[in-house]
Symmetry: C2
Subunit: 145 residues, 2 copies
């Protein structure tokens, strides 16, 4: 038998080409299409939410793994970009996600382990497992002075 969990998000039309997205207990999000697809700027879009989902999964998975492995983290920020591309004879699709973690650790001794755990986080992330895109990981590791 397999374990399973359900996650909910509701979208409500609020006029023209805008909607609000809700998930039980979490703050309401305004969403629109990206400006290049006739939407408005300054709000979340399906595409940026998609990249946010992959990135949030990566960082939270890494934090869990680092905690289990007792790796001390000084600072961590992760940039991520998703490439939306129109294939030959196909519709638009997000084909690639570039994930660039900037991790600051306390000691040079931890560098190799940190690199290994970053790779492991990418490979274990539930959302990476759920998408068709290739995920490219380009970590940068610094040691705090």
């Amino acid at each position: 038998m397999t374990r399973s969990y359900m996650y909910e998000a509701e979208a409500v039309w609020v006029g023209e080409r805008r909607a609000q997205v809700r998930s039980p207990g979490a703050p309401v999000l305004e969403v629109s299409s990206p400006p290049e697809f006739q939407g408005q700027a300054g709000v979340w879009t399906p595409e940026t939410l998609f990249v946010a989902s992959v990135n949030a999964c990566f960082i939270l998975t890494f934090l869990a793994i680092a905690h289990l492995s007792k790796l001390p983290i000084v600072d961590l920020r992760v940039s991520a970009w998703g490439k939306l591309e129109k294939g030959e004879g196909a519709g638009y699709q997000i084909t690639e996600i570039l994930v660039k973690p900037l991790l600051m650790i306390r000691s040079e001794v931890d560098r190799e382990r940190a690199e290994r755990l970053l790779k492991k986080a990418e490979q274990s992330c539930f959302i990476s497992n759920s998408i068709k895109a290739i995920v490219r990981l380009e970590p940068e590791i610094l040691v705090s002075a």
Copy 2:
């Protein structure tokens, strides 16, 4: 040559197992793992952001298609659930998304066209095209009194 666009989201560690997710110009989101994976309740999670991305894409694609087809819409709200499941010998993965639009139209005459356009929206959605999950569409169409 294919057209492509890049979409960005940054994740910043803010202590313990929490992060903030940002995308240029959009409001900052607090994120955590779901409570059943040692996270905290009341914020967005990678899983709910994933379902939100699919749902936002569906509703915005439908609004664009309905606008082009001059279908009058009275009201529209879309519930969506993502099923996270651990496969045999594999990690967790979102395997299925159930999308339930509740669409209110002005006239019975438009019902068949509305149904067709809802299906078309699901098939054209960029995010549906980008995920491994099966997307199940279960529309309900009402006519305003």
